[in-house]
């Protein structure tokens, strides 16, 4: 029987309510979260059990830190004091679990909780979707399937950003009255758009052989590039490189690999195209 399970799970990073409920369901089925990677959540088999999960945020943290900051370790000490066990962290997100049926929550001040989520969102979720929105606007002249794909990305960015800002506004209002507001469920939206984007890519790739080869190479290259970049980041962390050095080296490697990937795909397509028209000459 498998001991580890790797799952692609689509939640917006600020959707702590959705992630918590999902992790609790997984624990009831006998799978406990072990770690989060750029592509997967890794679960380990365990006895099915009722656990409470808490997804919290440490805005000052970075994936490029050589080790957890002292503040994060103090945060863990405080949490352990009231029965919360640290599970894993990824970027600004930290995940804890508690076996008690009705534990003291980790967040008991709704206003402080909303502001913490917002500070963390400004470092990850918001820049990501703002850049995606900007890129999709730049590509508005694209036609055919490519145009539809960019339109989908534009729509996804707009919906995600609007939902976040609406939640933040409503959560702040609720917090004035001492009430916590659940985050909107983002998993389903992400799944729908992922399916539509994948379908669009398959249709685009299927139009002719050159596109099929280009798309296959780009997708394979993308996953390989992200894997190598993650490995470089991890290697720099193991060397205890300061955050700024890690960011610089990782960005440099990202730029080189991305340029190599695009150049490689263009080269293959050009050669494929040239070799097709050569016999005509």
């Amino acid at each position: 029987m498998k001991e580890l399970k790797y799952r692609v799970e689509l939640f917006s990073s600020y959707d702590h309510t959705g992630i918590e409920k999902h992790l609790e369901k997984m624990a009831e089925k006998g799978w406990l979260l072990e770690k989060i990677t750029p592509f997967f959540r890794v679960y380990r088999r365990a006895e099915p059990q009722k656990l409470r999960y808490a997804v919290t945020y440490f805005p000052k943290a970075s994936e490029f830190d050589p080790e957890p900051q002292e503040g994060q370790l103090i945060y863990e000490d405080y949490s352990a004091r009231i029965g919360w066990t640290f599970v894993c962290r990824f970027a600004q997100m930290q995940i804890f679990r508690n076996a008690e049926e009705d534990p003291v929550p980790m967040e008991t001040d709704p206003m402080a909780a909303v502001e913490t989520v917002d500070r963390a969102a400004r470092k990850g979720f918001l820049p990501y979707y703002i850049v995606l929105l900007f890129l999709s606007c730049l590509s508005w002249r694209s036609s055919g399937i490519a145009g539809i794909l960019w339109m989908l990305l534009f729509l996804l960015s707009v919906i995600e950003l609007c939902r976040y800002y609406k939640w933040r506004k409503d959560a702040r209002k609720a917090a004035v009255n001492g009430v916590f507001l659940d985050t909107p469920r983002t998993g389903r939206l992400q799944m729908i758009f992922s399916v539509l984007l994948l379908a669009g890519i398959l249709i685009y790739a299927g139009e002719n052989r050159m596109r099929l080869i280009a798309c296959a190479l780009l997708i394979a290259g993308f996953f390989l590039t992200v894997t190598v970049i993650s490995a470089v980041k991890l290697f720099m962390k193991r060397l205890k490189a300061p955050r700024a050095v890690n960011i610089t080296v990782t960005l440099l490697v990202s730029a080189i690999l991305s340029a190599a990937l695009v150049s490689g795909v263009l080269w293959v397509c050009w050669h494929f195209f040239v070799s097709r028209i050569m016999p005509l000459r």
Partner: protein
């Protein structure tokens, strides 16, 4: 009207500052608040950490001692003043309640 940051205090902010009238380690604040309020008020670990950071930034508390990761804090003069203002506000509220419901002036 939205609460102005740290100008009026939530119950948890109030009790954390109250705990720090004398030097207290961050991790002991949980027990002190439970003892002080008979279990009526609880503070989450995330909330405690965030509020201590906010109070430090605002100069309401300062670090009194450090032993590895165990940090102790104590109220500053600004913290005592903020607490005193909040106590005054709460007394005024209670007085208004007594006047309306119990006819006391």
């Amino acid at each position: 009207m939205p609460r102005q940051k740290l100008q009026t205090l939530t119950e948890q902010m109030f009790y954390i500052l109250l705990c720090l009238k004398t030097k207290c380690c961050g991790i002991e604040i949980f027990d002190r608040i439970t003892e002080m309020t008979g279990g009526r008020v609880t503070v989450g670990s995330g909330t405690l950490y965030d509020l201590l950071e906010q109070f430090l930034e605002a100069g309401l508390i300062c670090e009194a001692d450090r032993d590895g990761r165990r940090r102790s804090y104590i109220l500053t003069d600004a913290g005592r003043e903020t607490l005193a203002k909040e106590a005054g506000r709460l007394r005024a509220q209670l007085a208004d309640y007594d006047r309306i419901f119990n006819g006391k002036e």
